[in-house]
Symmetry: C2
């Protein structure tokens, strides 16, 4: 079984929805990703926390057998994000971001992690993504996520690391922004020209669309009557997607399509509760049940 | 082959998108519906036009073998709609509506139309929908569309006619408004309790979701690189949906799921050009090709 290495944020989030609110809860792209991907293959985490990061929160990750050998603790405050959702629970408004120990952080992949076969570069400065990737000996599958902030401010660096990725995951707004077109279909095809062999465009409650050179695949979202907190849905999506590819140890179109379905299933667990609680509780059996339900949803 | 009877508007539209504009073009729910449904089964139209309605526009419908035996011309102006789309080409902003001859119109179904087996009650005053339906001898399949205006102002009448429909089509915003919930999944199930055996919730570029007592079916939209004018997409959707059910002459879950796919395919033709031009040009062969492509889109 290949190992998955993820580099990305471990954070404390303050989250507000129109219905509820949580303060100082465990968040960060790497947390959500790992909590999903650990159901598929062993996960190794590279990241940084501040002096204020509770050992009990790291223990929640360890309890799910996530290898924290690449997590360092540095002087200063941990990364913090304050976000708010409107009634539609679709896009987050970022009220405040405090990079804390993440600003100026130089990622170091431990020797024991350098043989990782599968790599997920979570949403983080593209130069940190690249410098992490360069420390992996022979990555076979590389996936990358990003956000509007880097598309706007670090486009050149982002395109450099994107060209080295096999799979790019972005949401609709990011795809449009990256390609300067409203059409998701056109954006998907444009992103493929930047180098990756596949791009998954995430559409929240509408599911996701995968583009490869040879096909377009339309994945439904798992239908939920209630969404409590959409935070981390995209990272849990990446966790299911990359997790499935690692477990299958291939990256052909069929594996990619199934992987996208695993992504939407993991996202559905993530949004059912605040913080990582939803995806933390998820287990293989529940994933398999939702995968069958997704299949039934599109069956004629 | 059962006959389809549609009652609804024949109109002149002024349409603006951020890219283009058309004035005084053939529109109206019954026009779009008929232009789609005629590919599946014979269509009979019940409606009203004013003195200003060009015979050449009626001829376009006749040229597609739509039976206009139920269309009357009355003194006054034809129904007019002025709508504008934003950059996302998703929801129309209605700038102005002029009911013209539609206000106070009393629908009369010609004797020769009263044996119609399949009925589509297009978006129109729910009392007009009901009074039309009551003139049909033994309708076997009844579908109904509506809009925010009637949900707000004529709720009681709408619920009465809805209870007599087999299939209700609404868009996401209308489903939410009708049921007072943001969740489409919950709204779909709530609408079933109002009487219909199926409800299709239209989601524009995201496709549609069908709810029946026994299943939920997730239909993709046909992926288009360019949308020129979304006007009439919902009515063309209903045309493909009702058309398929008429041709199949059944209304079980399998037929309903396939019908929804025909709906999204017909909608895709409608939005490729202004006015009815896109769906007017569509033919069975093109529909079949897009149906195969839709199937491939969700195939694992």
């Amino acid at each position: 079984m290949p190992h998955i290495l993820v580099v990305g944020s471990l954070a404390y989030d303050d989250v507000e929805t129109p219905f509820d609110r949580r303060r100082e809860v465990l968040g960060g792209a790497a947390s959500y990703f790992s909590m999903a991907a650990r159901m598929y293959a062993p996960v190794r985490l590279v990241g940084v926390v501040g002096e204020d990061f509770a050992e009990s929160d790291l223990d929640r990750l360890r309890a799910r057998e996530i290898d924290l050998g690449g997590v360092v603790r540095e002087p200063g405050r941990s990364f913090r994000w304050l976000g708010r959702y409107n009634y539609e629970l679709n896009t987050a408004e970022t009220i405040n971001t405090d990079l804390g120990v993440f600003s100026g952080w130089e990622p170091r992949v431990p020797d024991g992690f350098r043989d990782s076969e599968v790599v997920f570069l979570a949403n983080i400065h593209p130069e940190v993504q690249l410098r992490t990737l360069e420390q992996i000996r022979e990555p076979r599958i590389v996936a990358l996520d990003t956000m509007n902030y880097w598309i706007e401010r670090e486009r050149a660096a982002l395109l450099t690391v994107m060209a080295r990725a096999d799979i790019v995951t972005v949401n609709e707004a990011e795809a449009r922004q990256l390609c300067g077109t409203h059409s998701i279909i056109r954006a998907g095809r444009e992103i493929l020209k930047l180098g990756p062999r596949a791009v998954a465009i995430k559409r929240g409650e509408y599911g996701a669309v995968l583009f490869t050179r040879d096909r377009t695949f339309w994945a439904p979202a798992f239908p939920l009557e209630e969404v409590r907190d959409p935070t981390g849905a995209g990272d849990a999506f990446a966790g299911g997607l990359v997790g499935h590819l690692a477990r299958a140890d291939k990256i052909d179109d069929a594996a990619l399509c199934t992987a996208v379905l695993h992504g939407t299933v993991c996202a559905s667990f993530a949004v059912e509760d605040f913080s990582v609680a939803g995806i933390e509780k998820a287990e293989a059996e529940g994933v398999a049940r939702r995968m069958r339900e997704l299949g039934a949803l599109v069956a004629i």
